[in-house]
Structures are given as C-alpha cells and as structure tokens.
Subunit: 334 residues, 2 copies
C-alpha cells in the first residue's frame, strides 16, 4: 500500500512523511499531492497573524482546545520559527502546550523557514492540503509578520484573524495602513494590560469608519487572476465584499475571550457561506497557487535552457553598467 | 531635448516625471531606465526598516539633515504609506520635515503601495536608479515591516539600518528570528524611554552571541543566483561575511545619537569597501532584479500566448478538484 493511501487512512507517521517529502521539494511529493487533491476542499482554514509577541501561539493553542472540546480534529501549521509549535520558544511554552502535542486528534506541523519565501508558501499550501485530505478541520495556520506573509495568509485562509497587542495607540496609522485591510476578525490580546481598552477603542473607531477592508484583497488580483477568473466571479467579488471586521478582546494566557473568538470566526464563516464569498476565496487561493507554480516552473525551464557561462557573462555586463537589467532580461528570454 | 537628458542635467521636474512614468509602469520608463543606467552605481544606498511606530521617518529625516550638513545631495525614497514623507501621517510630522521638502539638494519620493508588491519592488529599484544617476548620494530608503519587504531592502541597500523601539524585552526571540539577521546597524530609538536600556542590553548580548548574521543573506540565493554568479563571487561571499552588527542608541526626535549612527554607517561602508562585499552586494542586488524582471516577463509572455477561455476552464477544473494545481501548471506551460 502506498504512502498516500496509508495517510488517507489516518496513519500519523505516513502523514508526517508526506509533509517531509513536501518540505524537501521532492518529485514524489508532486505525485502524492496530485493523488490527495480530490480529497481536499473540506477543511475550514483559519489564518492567525500579527506582530511578534502579540501572543499568536497562545491564542492558537486556546483555539485548538476550544475546537477539540467540540470533538473537531484540529490541524495546526506554524509558519513561524519563533512559535512554540516550532520549538523555537522557551520551554515553558511547549510545556503549556503539551496536551496538544500528545492529542491524537491534533496534528501540529511546523514549517521551517529556510529562507526561500516563495518555496515556503508553496510548501505550506501543500501541507495544508495533506491535513485537509486526511480529515483535519479546522486547520489553524499561524504566521508572523506584516507584509507578504500576511498577504499570503489572506489568500490561503477562509478567515483571517489578526492579533494586535495593546499599547499601540500611537501606531494606529500603521495598523490602518496594513493590517486592518486583511483582517476578518481583529483580536486585541492580553486584555488585562492597561493599554488594551485604549487600543480596542481606537480600533473600534477605525472599524466604524469602515477603513478600507477589501482594498487589499482586491489589490491581490494579478494579471494572471484577471485572465483566469471569469467575468461572473470578478463582478461577484466586487459585489460581495462588505464584511465588517469583528473585534474581540482576549487574554489568551488564561483563556478569556476564546469563546467569543470562536463565535466571531463562526459568524464570519456563516457570512462567507451565505454570500458567494466562500467559493471566491477558494478560487482566489487556487488561482494564486497556480500562478506561483507557473512562475516557478517557467523559471526552472528557462534556467535549464541556458548555459551558465552566457548567463554569467550577461550578469557581468549588467554589473559593469553596460546593459540594464530590463534589456538583459529581454535577451535572456528572447 | 528628451526627458532623460533634462533629468540628468538636474531638472527636478524632469526627475519627478521620470519617476511617475516608472510608477505607472509605462513602456517609456523602460527606455528611460536603459538610457540612465550607465550613470548609476555611484550612490551609497542606505535602507532603514523596522516595525511601525519605531520612529523610522524621524530617524531618516535626521540622517538626511546630517548628510546635508556635510554638503551631500540626499535622496529619500519612502516605501511606506504611513510615512510622513508619503503624506500619510499627522500634519505635525510633515511640518517638522518642511526643511527637507523645500531643500533643492534633497529629493523626497514616496512610493505609493498599490497592492502589487512585486511591481512595487521593481518600481522602487528603478526610482533609486533615477536618483543615483541624477547625482543624489546617499539615498535613504525607508520601508515598513518585517518579512519580504525587509528582505528586499537587504538586497537593495548597501547598509541596512534596523530600527527597534524599546519595550520589546520579552520579544527578543522574535527579533532574533527575523530582524537581526539582516541588520548591519541596529538602532534602539527613543532612548529616553525607560525600557531602552534593557532592550539595548538584551540586543547587545545577542549580538555578542554572534546570532546568525548573514544566514538570511545567504539564504537569499535562488537557483537563478546560483547559476548567474560565478564560483569566485560565491566563495568570496561565503568568505567575507563576518560583519558584526553595530548597535546605536538614538532619540531621533531631539537628534540624539544621530552622529553616532552616521559614523556606524560609515564604518560599515568602510568594511564593505575593504572586503569584497560592496561589489558582492551590488551583484546580488542586480541578479535579484534581473530575476524579478525575467519572472514577470516570462509570465506576461505566457499570458499573451493562451486564450482566456481555456485558462478559465482549467481553473474551473482545479476548483472542482478534478485536477491539482501542479498538473494544471504543467498543462499551461507545456
């Protein structure tokens, strides 16, 4: 019996081995994913992101426990080298999460960040597929950071939870510019801190101003997306993006506010299901994934077709300012 | 007389118009860049990055004033919608920086973040080329955030200044994982705050532990880089990366520590010049730029070669889980 069949039967060791194949970028992984793919598309994907130290991991572990108490099989993917799930944090954190590591209905996978962010996004999407196909639902995806990582989560998850630590009152401008736009649910964590109320109040005010939710999402549309998704999907996307991000205050360390967060996520899911958005997010995610693979594979094909000497020569001329990068690119492709 | 010639003669309006062409991605920009390119490679590029609210903009404006007092012509590129340079912040900040906006030897350009991060990186690199060719030196590049944006700065700048706000004592793990690895100079800003000493002490300890500087940089090497740079460059890269990040405490608002920061940057520059690293950073930057352009242009060529209906059909089959994205990508390319 092959690895995929064993994994689909629920064998944890087979699941872990598949993930290792994926992380190592092996050809066998491609075939396995092709085999698994028809079984995907069932799990609900929840992204949890925010700045370092906001308490994402603790929040993820509390969420996992909440879903476990509802008899759900929970997948956790940590794309964050500092996460306790990745073994990157202090021992105390791991001890606090021991119940999750030993629970047979929880699968924790840490994605090693090996520098190549593009490859990481691709591998993460595939690891999520493995969890999805093998019956884990929901799947919690924890990533650190602002910028591209957040955008990638926005594309991968059905519901994006952005965690904000209190005491950022003066940085509201910054939050406004980046984070609010991808949040479906905003969490102000550690609500025992003195600044939490002020942060929450400021965020609430901004949410009421309806600050640009959806702007970032529509901006995701690449040329590829525009060509690949038909007109109906695109006008539907334009029409349905009226979700108003929910605000939840939590103190993850002691479990306060977790029930409210679970409810907020469920509420957002219901919204996605009653509008056409759930299907649209699936579409967006898959088109983006397809685009990423096409880009990578085109590049690989190009590299296979040129010899190292002539590429090195061309680069040397660019460095010597004899030829500009765009002209050089044309020569390489042409 | 054409736009490029006028810009090279120092005409500010021509320079601004070139930058607008670039931002709008117009074909005319390509030709202009090709014309300008032989005049580039002279400016020293300083990246300033860090989390929102760390005080990057104030620091950049103080750095600009310091270089102005040494009669340098200073370019400022703000890739941050919340930067006062972008008009995104409160009026008070802009008023404080009025001297820079009205100084004929300072050129401030804000890059609008229009969602397409790939395009933004490409446009920023080209705007920096315009400033470089028209005699601005140094060029200060301010970007927000962790993740991909920082990596891109690391590739664009000769010296990367990472600004850290105090009070992050508990988040050292997070800093360790991401920011330290790309910092040539670490700034603890707002050193009047109570937590600054503690933050600085913790960072200093980590710097002494020699925590992973260069790990991120070498991880940047893509397949493309491996093929494009010759063996000599690569072994030189491996041999010379022994810079030990400098730590500077500043209170940018009142100008404290700015002289020390200027000195730290000069020190790093000297290091780059006495080793082979300056040339290597130039090489890395240009190879990465070339790779980005090749990727984009390959994608455009692919999209021009397929009709919308068959691409939409393929996507529909992926969404229906009939065919997995990797197999679909093969069909598209093949």
């Amino acid at each position: 019996v092959d690895l995929v069949t064993t994994a689909l039967a629920g064998n944890r060791r087979a699941i872990a081995r598949l993930m290792t194949l994926i992380e190592n970028g092996q050809e066998a992984a491609r075939n396995a994913i092709a085999q698994l793919y028809p079984y995907t598309g069932r799990a609900y994907l929840i992204g949890v992101t925010g700045s370092p130290g906001a308490g994402k991991s603790t929040l993820v572990s509390q969420l996992a426990r909440a879903y476990r108490s509802a008899e759900r099989r929970v997948g956790i993917v940590a794309v964050d080298p500092t996460s306790p799930f990745s073994g990157g944090a202090i021992l105390g954190d791991r001890v606090r999460m021991r119940d999750l590591f030993t629970d047979p209905s929880v699968f924790v996978r840490s994605m090693a960040s090996r520098g190549n962010l593009g490859g990481l996004a691709r591998a993460t999407a595939d690891v999520v597929k493995v969890l999805d196909a093998t019956g884990f639902d929901p799947i919690l995806i924890e990533t650190v950071g602002t910028g591209q990582a957040e955008l990638d989560i926005a594309q991968l998850a059905h519901t994006v939870v952005v965690v904000v630590a209190p005491g950022m009152g003066d940085d509201i401008q910054a939050i406004k510019a980046g984070i609010l736009e991808i949040a479906d649910v905003l969490v102000v964590n550690k609500s025992d801190c003195t600044d939490a109320e002020r942060t929450a109040a400021a965020l609430e005010m901004m949410l009421e101003l309806g600050s640009g939710h959806g702007a970032r999402r529509s901006a995701l549309s690449s040329d590829f997306m525009r060509v690949a998704a038909d007109d109906a999907s695109q006008s539907a996307a334009a029409a349905t993006d009226h979700w108003h991000p929910l605000l939840v205050k939590t103190c993850a360390l002691v479990g306060e506010g977790i029930a409210e967060l679970v409810e907020a996520i469920a509420h957002h899911r219901q919204y996605l299901e009653t509008t056409q958005e759930l299907g649209l997010r699936d579409l967006t995610r898959l088109v983006n994934e397809l685009e990423r693979i096409v880009r990578d594979d085109l590049m690989k094909a190009l590299l296979n077709g040129i010899d190292q000497v002539s590429l090195s020569d061309l680069v040397a001329r660019v460095v010597a300012r004899e030829i500009d990068p765009q002209t050089a690119a044309r020569q390489l492709i042409g």
